[in-house]
């Protein structure tokens, strides 16, 4: 994920910890850092949420506008998810068009939300040639690892808290609307890294500099909905099965945090 420079002494120290099933700050291999979720931070957006996992900070904003359907799906609205790794978020991020990393983050998050059926695109149909476009933009403000999970939480909470604008003639009315965007269910994702032969959850930026492999597993509590393996290294079947089980174990806790932020 990152090509960040860290001193080799730090790297060795963290690597050795993991080799002996330990992590910095006394964290266990299957333990998340502190997760904080705040919704409605941007009033102009139909929905928004700021999420921090440790020092990773992401902001997701939802805009809903009138657009045209895709040619192959004339009776459905559109969901479009993008991610931007802001150059302020890390000394290694650069200005310019979205990097392959940013595109991967956005597409993995998009797949989870789409596959879980959180947005019913058929319900976004207005009339022939006219549908609602739902844009989810994920802004990475500060990078300290695990953008996949932070982004999934932010995007999901932003969508679940979004208001649904009204169409009056040609004009879109959004301000002060009480109606909610129609959503179904919830999705959580768990990202695991592998290094020193160990698999551990929620890697931070230091850990991501030397991980061999990474896997993100998204589920809705009942079924797996999206997965993405990354980097050069490999996972054994046992490691994959364990990670899948762990992702289901973590679902309820993550879901409870999201529901609390949503005020449900």
């Amino acid at each position: 994920m990152s090509y960040m420079y860290i001193p080799s002494a730090t790297k060795e120290f963290i690597f050795d910890l993991i080799a002996s099933n330990k992590r910095e700050f006394g964290r266990a291999l299957n333990e998340y850092r502190d997760i904080k979720i705040e919704k409605n931070v941007i009033e102009h957006a139909e929905g928004s949420a700021q999420v921090t996992i440790g020092n990773t900070k992401v902001l997701a904003g939802v805009k809903i506008t009138v657009g045209e359907p895709m040619h192959d799906k004339p009776n459905e609205g559109n969901l479009m998810t993008s991610a931007e790794l802001l150059p302020m978020a890390s000394s290694d991020y650069e200005m310019g068009p979205p990097s392959p990393n940013a595109i991967e983050v956005a597409r993995v998050i998009d797949r989870g939300i789409r596959a879980a059926g959180i947005i019913d695109t058929a319900a976004l149909f207005i009339e022939e040639g006219k549908v609602w476009d739902v844009f989810v933009d994920i802004y990475v403000l500060n990078y300290d690892g695990n953008l996949f999970d932070a982004g999934t939480i932010a995007a999901t909470v932003a969508l679940l808290s979004a208001r649904m604008p009204k169409l009056e003639g040609e004009k879109v009315i959004s301000e002060g609307i009480k109606d909610k965007l129609k959503t179904n269910g919830i999705i959580t994702s768990c990202t695991f890294a592998k290094a020193a032969g160990k698999v551990f959850i929620d890697p931070d930026a230091n850990e991501e500099t030397f991980m061999d492999a990474r896997i993100t597993i998204a589920n809705d509590g009942k079924e797996l909905r999206a997965m993405q393996k990354g980097l050069r290294g490999s996972f054994t079947l046992q490691e994959l099965n364990d990670a899948v089980s762990m992702s289901f174990e973590k679902h309820n806790g993550l879901k409870a945090l999201m529901e609390k932020a949503l005020g449900e």
Partner: protein, 247 residues
């Protein structure tokens, strides 16, 4: 200036739509050091504007041909988030407006940052507008000045910026989005408070000579308050350290 349709009444009985008088600033809050990975950063809420400014560097200027062997170069990115406005979805990526604002912001800091201390390096200024409600370039410069000061990079002064404009024949300070859309003039100005020299000035619309003078006086008067809020934000992280050790 770009508002279509019928012009709404923006000043009723001497009060503006949000209850302000002509010379009143919107509420302004600055929170220091919000981006851990930056050398310095600041989050500003100016009325309904929500903006993060962050400074990275000085670091090796890349690509190499952008570097200057005699001084640091400043690179600036001002960008509106796609979800920052009430209407529509802004496309990501630079446009002509954001490129121009990035350039004039950069020029403000080329004046006050002591560039000759860091030859061959670049200093990056990032201004991300998370929510925009008029006057974002001024708010961005005000926030970036705090971020630059907190980064520890030596400066000759901490600049601030604010806009003044005209509604009908009334000169007003600090226009919000609706006022800006239907105003008869808009003029963002950045100032070096030690000398009251102007570092940025853009204007469109119409001002008489007297109205221009009045607008500049308003800006310099409000600058005292803006600068006070900036100074408090810059001091806060250090005060917190002092308090921790005095306890």
């Amino acid at each position: 200036m770009s508002g279509g349709g019928e012009k709404p009444e923006l000043i009723i009985n001497g009060k503006r739509l949000d209850g302000r008088g002509a010379t009143d600033l919107r509420s302004l809050k600055i929170e220091p050091n919000v981006i851990k990975n930056a050398a310095g950063s600041a989050y500003v809420e100016w009325g309904n504007n929500k903006i993060i400014a962050a400074v990275h560097g000085p670091k090796e200027a890349l690509p190499k041909h952008t570097s200057d062997p005699e001084k640091a170069v400043i690179k600036c990115r001002y960008m509106m988030a796609p979800f920052s406005s009430l209407e529509g979805h802004g496309r990501t990526g630079p446009n002509r407006r954001s490129i121009e604002i990035s350039k004039v912001t950069k020029e403000v800091f080329e004046n006050v940052v002591m560039l000759e201390l860091f030859p061959g390096t670049e200093i990056d200024i990032y201004v991300e507008v998370l929510q925009g409600d008029g006057g974002t370039r001024a708010a961005g410069i005000t926030a970036a000045a705090v971020a630059m000061a907190l980064s520890g990079i030596p400066m000759t002064d901490v600049p601030y910026a604010v806009s003044a404009g005209k509604i009908g024949e009334t000169v007003v300070l600090d226009l919000n989005m609706i006022e800006d859309n239907y105003s008869d003039a808009d003029m963002p100005v950045a100032v070096k408070p030690l000398t009251n020299e102007t570092l940025l000035l853009q204007m469109d619309g119409s001002f008489t000579k007297e109205q221009f003078k009045e607008a500049m006086e308003m800006i310099l008067e409000s600058g005292k308050k803006i600068h006070e809020i900036q100074a408090a934000a810059i001091k806060r992280p250090y005060q917190e350290i002092i308090e921790r050790y005095e306890r």
